[in-house]
Amino acid sequence: MVLAIQAKNLKIGYMDEEEQITWATRGVDLSVEEGESFCIVGESGCGKSTLASAIAGVLPPHALTMGKLYIFNQLVINESERNYNGIRGKVVSLIPQNPGTSLNPFLTIGDHFYYILRDVKGLSKSDSIKIAQEYLSKVGLGKDVLEKYPHKLSGGMQQRVLIAIALASEVKIIVADEPTSSIDANLRAQILNLLSKLVKEFKVTLLLVTHDLASASKICDRIAVMYAGKVIETGLTSSIISKPRHPYTRMLLDSVPLLGSKKSLNPLPGEPPSLVEDFTWCSFRDRCPFRIEQCSVEPPLIPVEDEPHLVRCWRFREVS
């Protein structure tokens, strides 16, 4: 199997105007295989969106990087060096978070396709319109959309357009950053189903970033759970959902209100630690009911027997 994405001890931080650095990811190790649907789950501030930006090549200029990130064996982040030549739009494309603001309000949908296909593949206007029509019909939109400006479309339609755009340049990896967070529940299901269907059809590697474990479990083969800038657990979706090994993952599952079963919600008190300071202990230590002496040293990703499952917890056996 070819590795589509590989991160080695990747750290990304942002420096603010007071020269204080907030580390959004604090040493991420991650491998995503070609053709799989991989999901990064975590709550806000865990660094998942930053990681998505790093992979899509859109880290803001004030971001600082350390560690290494490979995309199809090309080194795109090498410590503080970033080089996305030949990657952006050619190997990786992005489905951005906010469909309302991610389309240029001054251009029609057709113009969007034209500029992308011209710059990435050198296509002419008529060719790119043909391709645009083809992909728009894949996402269930008619060709009348091409003439329209983005604000004329509903939120669901905008999201479909963004999916079509990401697919149109025939990339190998699609990064979807919270594609459904601003969409109503009934549309969310449609969009997610569409996305997973198309990803299978075009054999694209999908990296889905979301805070919603339930949607992630719908369409992904593997899940990585992030907490306070680190991946704390990765494994097959079924094993993460049914047998979480990290106390945080377990708490997440226990906190989701489920329709029809009024199980009691058992969130752990407290909130994620501040990412300004550097610390060596387990980031979940202060909220963890399983805490022991050893937790003042952060564990590495420990493999779980007989399963492609890694967990960053000393007491993962007791947790499940």
């Binding site: 803001p60 200029p61 004030h62 952006r88």
Partner: protein, 299 residues
């Protein structure tokens, strides 16, 4: 973050910038000069426009050690006149901006807070006065109530308050839609308390920055009015008036044969305006937290 700590943080951040430092230095010098000018001027009474007894001997002398900026057509020491003009300049700029800001802010905020007819009416008057050119008002006042500092200030205030009203309206409009204003309304607090606490407090930073950056423009316009002979009477210690006198006395020749009459007062206007602008410019970037980051063309 409370208001005082916000201001101290802004100062700390900006004092690292060279341009801001130069601006603060220039403005400090001008303000100090405006206070002590009559004390340090070599010929204080000439500064106020009195023609010296031996005027005929010292007309239009070029700069020298005795008269660092030279003398004007009536034999007055230009250095003293320019120095004394600092005070007028500061008074003009500051009072115009302060009064306009106060009037405009109240009207703009009220228009945003009270909806319906009040909003429509106040916005109408704002739109109306936005369009009035200060120089024509000055001409009008000059013809009816004569000359003086009040003419300059009134005509500029008439032309400027609407500008602040519009800015305050735009900012306040977005504030009054926020939930904390709704919450305050629902708890039964009166508008008299909500407006200063929630609305004005939150638009104040933006308005102050705008006001500081407009100080320069107000001075430029005030001296333009004086330069046209519409504001202060001849002999007044004001830079625009000094330039005006140089020209009315001798027309175009003033430029050609006694350039010091033109160079020095203009230079002072320029330096003062520059000082205000240099202070305001980095503050403006502070208003938008996104711009504070090190944005650049990164792709």
């Amino acid at each position: 973050m409370t208001l005082p700590s916000l201001y101290s943080r802004i100062m700390r951040r900006n004092l690292r910038r060279t341009r801001f430092k130069i601006g603060v230095a220039l403005t400090t010098i001008i303000v100090i000069l405006s206070i002590i000018a009559p004390l340090i001027a070599p010929y204080p009474s000439e500064g106020y426009g009195y023609v010296p007894a031996n005027a005929s001997e010292r007309k239009l002398l070029p700069p020298s050690t005795q008269f660092p900026f030279g003398t004007d057509a009536l034999g007055r020491d230009l250095f003293s006149r320019v120095l004394t003009g600092t005070r007028t300049a500061v008074i003009q700029a500051v009072s115009v901006i302060l009064i306009s800001l106060l009037v405009g802010m109240i009207i703009g905020v009220c228009a945003a807070y009270f909806k319906g007819l009040i909003e429509v009416t106040l916005n109408y008057f704002t739109e109306l006065f936005m369009a009035v050119p200060s120089i024509v008002i000055a001409l009008f006042l000059r013809l009816t109530i004569g000359q003086g500092l009040h003419v300059v200030i009134i005509s500029l205030v008439i032309a400027w308050w609407a500008w602040y009203s519009r800015i305050a309206y735009v900012y306040a409009k977005s504030i009054v839609e926020l939930e904390y204003v709704t919450l305050a309304k629902l708890s039964g607090l009166s508008a008299l308390k909500i407006i200063p606490r929630h609305v004005i407090r939150n638009i104040f930073q933006a308005l102050t920055v705008q006001a500081i950056s407009d100080l320069g423009s107000a001075l430029l316009e005030a001296s333009a009015i004086n330069f046209m002979g519409l504001g202060l009477p001849p002999g007044s210690p004001e830079w625009g008036v000094i330039l005006y006198e140089a020209i009315t006395e001798r027309g175009i020749e003033a430029f050609l044969f006694s350039p010091w009459l033109v160079v020095f007062p203009g230079l002072f206007i320029f330096m003062t305006t520059l000082g205000f602008s240099l202070i305001a410019d980095p503050l403006r970037e502070d208003l938008d937290p996104r711009l504070r980051r090190r944005w650049k063309l990164w792709f």
